[in-house]
């Protein structure tokens, strides 16, 4: 994989505990986020996408913790830092949070504090990390709002979140996240709550930031259209595992894993007319507290065999590429592809 990686996640396991039960929300996930590239994490609700992002920031809710694995942040000046070894709210972790790694959330309606002015919420991040005067922070905030394409920033800076529209709030959130020029931006479904035209504007903005500042982006989504548009690398998750990963070209053009293939077959393509043959994936995601013993996709998979039922298949990388598949029967699944 070309391009140096900024964050390496290795064999991450994050578990949730509720009344003696344990949900292995993220179970052995590894990936790299590359400088100036966008890594898209795809998967259906509850597959562990958001938990993976929260694990990097150490913003996990109570009753959940990183059980195993490493999250390594490759800094410019201090070498490699193992984020997962830092305390949840330790001074060091907090120093990275918001400065080097920033996050934007799904719902901009609720992600900003309703009782503080938007400008002050952005300035709070600046003043937390770069010790500067209030006036200086305000000047930088104003500049950021201007960059994010917020009209009349001089007036908007002193307004409250409820005076902003949805798209504007997400722009303000991005301004907040970008205020200290982070190396990594984690975007957790940033446009799910917005309508499609605003969605396009937000992604345009993110692409611009990626190219201009060389920011690495981790974009969580369940919209395959967004993946095609934005991704340099793709990570497909299912029930806490990465089932397939690689560059966008590898995964989207030549999907190998039965789940990825089924996922791509189940979406409508705009412009193909109304008589499209959609094939939904049969069955339902298993109960996270009562998982299948082997491959998580096995009960719904057309190519399941005895081996899948018994144990989780290993991650297999196709020789000479970065394309990884976690399936023992992928060759059979792809035999009619005519390659």
């Amino acid at each position: 994989m070309a391009g140096e990686s900024v964050i390496s996640v290795r064999h991450l396991k994050t578990y949730f505990y509720t009344e003696k039960r344990c949900n292995k929300a993220v179970n052995d996930v590894s990936f790299e986020i590359r400088k100036g590239k966008c890594l898209c994490v795809v998967g259906e609700s509850g597959c562990g996408k958001s938990v993976t992002a929260s694990s990097i920031m150490q913003l996990l809710p109570r009753l959940s913790r990183i059980e195993e694995g490493e999250i390594i942040y490759h800094t410019h000046d201090k070498g490699d830092v193992v984020l997962s070894d830092l305390g949840k709210n330790s001074k060091e972790m907090r120093a990275y949070r918001g400065k080097n790694i920033a996050m934007i959330f799904q719902d901009p309606m609720t992600a900003l504090n309703p009782v503080f002015k938007v400008g002050n919420q952005i300035a709070e991040n600046i003043r937390q990390h770069d010790k500067c005067s209030k006036a200086e922070a305000r000047k930088r905030t104003l500049e950021l709002l201007k960059q994010m394409g917020i009209p009349e920033p001089e007036r908007r800076i002193d307004q409250y979140p409820h005076e902003y529209s949805g798209g504007m709030r997400q722009r303000a959130m991005i301004a907040l996240a970008m205020s200290c020029s982070p190396d990594v931006l984690l975007a957790d479904e940033p446009t799910t709550a917005l309508d499609v035209t605003i969605q396009a504007q937000i992604f345009e903005l993110m692409t611009k930031l990626k190219e201009e500042n060389d920011t690495a982006i981790l974009l969580i989504t369940h919209d395959m259209g967004v993946v095609c548009e934005m991704a340099d690398d793709v990570l497909v998750m299912y029930m806490g595992n990465v089932v397939e990963s690689g560059t966008a070209r590898e995964v989207l053009k030549n999907p190998k894993h039965p789940y990825t293939r089924a996922l791509l077959a189940s979406i409508l393509v705009l412009g193909k007319g109304k008589d499209q043959n959609i094939q939904p994936i049969r069955g339902m995601t298993p109960n996270p507290y009562n998982r299948p013993p082997g491959c998580q996709f096995e009960p719904r998979c057309d190519f399941a065999c005895e081996a899948c039922r018994e144990r989780m298949p290993d991650e297999e990388v196709i020789e000479g590429t970065t394309h990884m598949i976690r399936c023992c029967n992928w060759r059979e699944a792809c035999k009619n592809d005519g390659e």
């Binding site: 918001g98 996050m103 719902d107 504090n113 991040n125 409820h162 005076e163």
Partner: protein, 319 residues
């Protein structure tokens, strides 16, 4: 803002009129002849019905209800609130003297319950499910279940009679020279009043804090890398405070009526005790005016509460 306050004041006029009518009409329905409270029974027995009618007429009691009501209302607006039937002192003077005494007790109790309630509630919320939360919850439930007068009597028993730390009741002594001596009298009733209100403020602050700490903006705040205490107090607490302050403000008018019970337990010479005495003595001018004053106070408090909510919550400020 000024326009809004003016508008609210204008709505006070019909509301006050309606309440005054209800108060006057309510007292009209009270059984018993008012002359019974004005003269001793033996004098009354010697008088002929014609004499009684003359006395009634001299007070205007022979007029129909509506006429009497408007006559009374007119006088009230002119500033003539009548005289106490028990002592002959103008009602206005009695209220002017007693109301501040009640406010002193009620406001002290309010401050105690507001501070203690929100601090303990937030403490419980931040330690949800832990021992401290369970203890505070238990205390809160017990606190809400104990009647105030009982709590007051127990407090007198322990702190005044057994330990002799504080006086049993009353407000001042003639020899008092320093303000802090007066404080000794205030402590016990104010604590009892405050503590009985604390438990509900605490329960409310706890649930409100839990709710706001689950909101997304708390995660945003954490994602900025600001310290946890700042996340809790600046972001969580600030949002939590809006409903809690509204609850506390709602208590203000109710505090005046609850302090009546406390005033009687501690012989605190406020408006509550005066009111109770006036009711038992059928001292009508007194009863009517105190009731009316309480009504006006409740309305003023609710206006105050609205203004306050506007100041602390920008979402309400705009409209």
């Amino acid at each position: 803002m000024g326009k809004y306050v003016l508008k609210r004041f204008l709505t006070f006029i019909p509301m006050t009129l309606l309440m005054s009518f209800l108060i006057y009409g309510g007292l009209e329905l009270v059984p018993g002849d008012i002359l019974n409270t004005m003269f001793p029974p033996d004098i009354l027995a010697q008088m002929s019905p014609a004499e009684l009618d003359v006395i009634r007429a001299s007070y205007g009691l022979d007029q129909p209800f509506i006429v009497r009501y408007f006559r009374w209302l007119f006088r009230v607006f002119q500033g003539d609130w009548g005289k106490s039937m028990a002592s002959g002192v103008p009602v206005k003077d009695v209220i002017a003297q007693r109301l501040p005494i009640t406010l002193e007790l009620a406001l002290t109790g309010l401050v105690i319950s507001a501070i203690l309630g929100s601090v303990l509630g937030i403490l419980a919320a931040l330690h949800k499910g832990e021992v401290i939360d369970m203890i505070l919850t238990a205390i809160g439930v017990v606190g809400q279940a104990i009647p105030q007068f009982f709590f007051g009597m127990v407090a007198i028993l322990i702190f005044a009679l057994k330990l002799k730390w504080l006086p049993i009741g009353g407000r001042t002594t003639p020899q008092m020279t320093h303000w802090y001596e007066h404080l000794r009298y205030l402590i016990l009733p104010a604590m009892v009043l405050g503590l009985t209100q604390t438990s509900s403020v605490m329960r409310y602050a706890r649930s409100s804090m839990l709710e706001s700490m689950n909101r997304d903006f708390v995660k945003t705040a954490r994602s900025k890398g600001i310290p946890e205490w700042k996340v809790n107090l600046v972001h969580g607490f600030r949002v939590t405070m809006t409903p809690v302050i509204i609850l506390i403000a709602f208590r203000l008018p109710a505090l005046i009526s609850t302090s009546m019970v406390i005033e009687n337990v501690f012989s605190w010479p406020g408006i509550g005790m005066t009111f109770k005495d006036a009711v038992t003595a059928q001292n009508y001018p007194m009863v009517m005016m105190i009731a009316l004053i309480i009504v006006v106070m409740v309305m003023l408090m609710s206006l105050l509460m609205d203004i306050f909510t506007r100041i602390i919550d920008p979402r309400v400020r705009l409209q």
